[in-house]
Symmetry: C2
Subunit: 405 residues, 2 copies
């Protein structure tokens, strides 16, 4: 509870910067109007951002005969942000300017054996060094790096509490990274990273309440309430993949039965294909990606088996998305990650139909269901956004210290 | 989005008043410390509350040699609040002082035929007149009345969009009531009322993220995020009763299959009893209340059939509560309403066991699962709290108008 009013100030700061990124150059008066904050609050926040070098003054605009209004804009080259997407099979690193435009990227495929923390840390450190050099960024300009790591992560300590895929328990990831990297580091999970990416730059921008449904090998549902990521008491909000859709149903790899993930994740979709057509040539038994891509291209060719798999998947996924609408009554549901991108409109249409059949008219009408419009990797984009948020928080702490002195 | 910063100010106001109700008399300095708000913000909000007559100055406290600090306290008799709980079979009206202590109450049983809007409105108006008179409250002292009505309700227009039980469509309930009652009126649903009651006066007080699980004939899950009720885009957040627990499972009265309510509501629990022991003397086929109370007293006597019904119910309910923890990662889950009160500790223990089996250790440890500590009707208490919130909002608008003049 004590964190709440600090959270409110933080949310205000993000709201202002998001708006500046969206509509640079812009006056403080316009920011106040659009965000609903007072002009004094906006002026304070813009002052912090100017001091941090994130913004520059770029002149004045006429205000219908009144005093000319000062305009501010994002100063893209006054700092750089790094986003790191650690996944089961790869490490992906990107460096961004302050408008979150990609300047350079690096990717490493992780060998099946190389999953000890020191291996992963070495790859991340090398990737970061590579993008800083490729982009010609002065190290002093890097405001921070956001690290996305699948599993239960503790943001406060920067450690991985548990990562099922790699059997990591209590790995102090940021401390290990800090031996190689001197930038401020920020840890969170990919679900939260994708949600923040949609809030700042994607389909949830301008929405108060949104859910980002991540469809990959695993599935999750990042929740935004009041325009802010909802993290929960231990940073694990959004673990929708292991909520129950069919009590006593299909065995899930988590050990429970009937989880949403067992039907809507890539392995679940493969199971639908196996159930419908066990000998289908679309099935690549050891390759999820190949199977999903084969389904996607068969769908385009009008293949009836692929269509049936998508109908059945949409039936499961639609029931689970309907649950999110009943429970959270959001303004937008974004289907994100590689499975959603691959299966695209046919899956979206099927989900919409299934949701419509299960949801009262009013909350259904209020909830737009869309595919993610973010074309780059939303995880590294979101991770870089965490670094931006971290830089803002640090700037504010410095300002406070200066005021106290 | 434009409402967000107004929402933040509103949340601050509630936070301050909640704290004053909890720890009257109290200094502005202590309020600032406890709420995390600035002293200036607290002073402004306390000023509003003083002006409204909700608070009085009650002297000074010593501050370790510093300047004595002014103390404020709730002025219980400076205003009254009315809470109305309209249910399927009754109308329950209570009048409260400003500490939300009940001064008087009135209850009317609705006859099966008398469910037309004008009948219900007449009963509500009579109940309100009765409690005002019984309590000896001057009509001018009534700050407002909160009305809780089951169904989809539109707070902005004060109308009932749809009430399934009575077949009401688009009934302008507050307009009809305003022909009889001159107090400010505020409409919401019982799920939201119970949640606000727990936030202000019950097990969710002081929590940031909480879920109030309502177990009655219907079931729902009121959600609080950041210490504030989450209403959603069309005020229907929390419709957990019609989320899917068993896809293609038991038929629910809503027309879908496998809804949580079909297993965890009173009729669902009766079905568990029927499945286990079709000829059980505990079963009162046409009386949910009698059946649940018979189960409760049989449990106390160690009856094995009753124990099995509770185990099976806890298995369903536990899976559904585990879903809430996975998705929202709250600090507290409150089991509320008459079924939870009747089945009490045996149900609570069963739910805890079932949840533990399905939830990762960390979010499970973070989520306290408790029975509601509110001994009075939480719906009318919550409805009266809406009236208090409404009075605060009105006071603020008046203050603003005064400033503009």
């Amino acid at each position: 509870m004590t964190g709440t009013s600090r959270d409110i100030r933080t949310a205000n700061r993000y709201r202002v910067l998001r708006q500046i990124i969206a509509s640079s150059p812009v006056s403080r008066q316009e920011l106040a109007t659009v965000t609903g904050l007072s002009l004094a609050t906006v002026a304070t926040l813009v002052g912090e951002l100017l001091e941090l070098g994130l913004l520059t003054d770029v002149g004045f605009e006429d205000s219908d005969g009144g005093r000319p209004r000062g305009l501010v804009a994002v100063a893209p080259s006054r700092g750089a942000l790094i986003g790191v997407d650690i996944a089961e099979t790869y490490v992906h690193v990107e460096i961004f300017d302050l408008t979150l435009t990609v300047l350079a990227q690096a990717a490493v495929v992780l060998k099946p054996g190389a999953k000890r923390p020191e291996h992963v840390v070495a790859h991340v450190a090398a990737g970061i060094a590579s993008v800083v050099e490729q982009s010609g960024t002065e190290p002093g300009q890097v405001l921070g790096a956001g690290i996305s790591m699948p599993g239960q992560v503790d943001r406060a300590t920067g450690s991985v509490v548990y990562a099922a895929n790699w059997g990591w328990h209590e790995v102090p990831l940021l401390s290990l990274l800090a031996e190689h990297i001197s930038y401020p580091l920020h840890l969170d999970n990919p679900l939260h990273a994708c949600t923040v990416a949609e809030l700042w730059f994607g389909a949830a921008r301008g929405s108060s309440d949104a859910v980002v449904v991540n469809l990959g090998t695993g599935v999750g549902a990042g929740i935004a309430i009041g325009g802010t990521l909802h993290r929960g008491a231990t940073n694990s909000a959004g673990e929708w993949g292991h909520t129950t859709l069919v009590l006593d149903g299909r065995l899930c790899h988590c050990g429970n039965r009937g989880c949403v993930e067992a039907y809507a994740g890539a392995p679940g979709i493969m199971q639908q294909l196996r159930d419908i057509s066990p000998a289908s040539p679309l099935l690549h038994p050891d390759d999820q990606t190949a199977t999903i891509l084969a389904l996607a291209s068969a769908l385009e060719g009008g293949d009836p088996v692929a269509a049936q798999v998508i109908r059945e998947t949409a039936r499961y996924l639609g029931a689970a998305v309907a649950d999110l609408i009943q429970l959270l009554n959001p303004e937008v549901i974004v289907l994100s990650s590689w499975v959603a991108a691959a299966l695209g409109t046919p899956l979206l249409d099927g989900v919409r139909t299934a949701v419509a059949a299960r949801t009262p008219a009013r909350p259904f009408a209020a909830a737009e269901i869309v595919l993610s419009p973010i074309s780059s990797d939303p995880v590294s984009l979101g991770a870089a956004t965490f670094a931006l948020e971290g830089a803002l928080a640090a700037a504010r702490q410095n300002t406070r210290r200066a005021v106290r002195r």
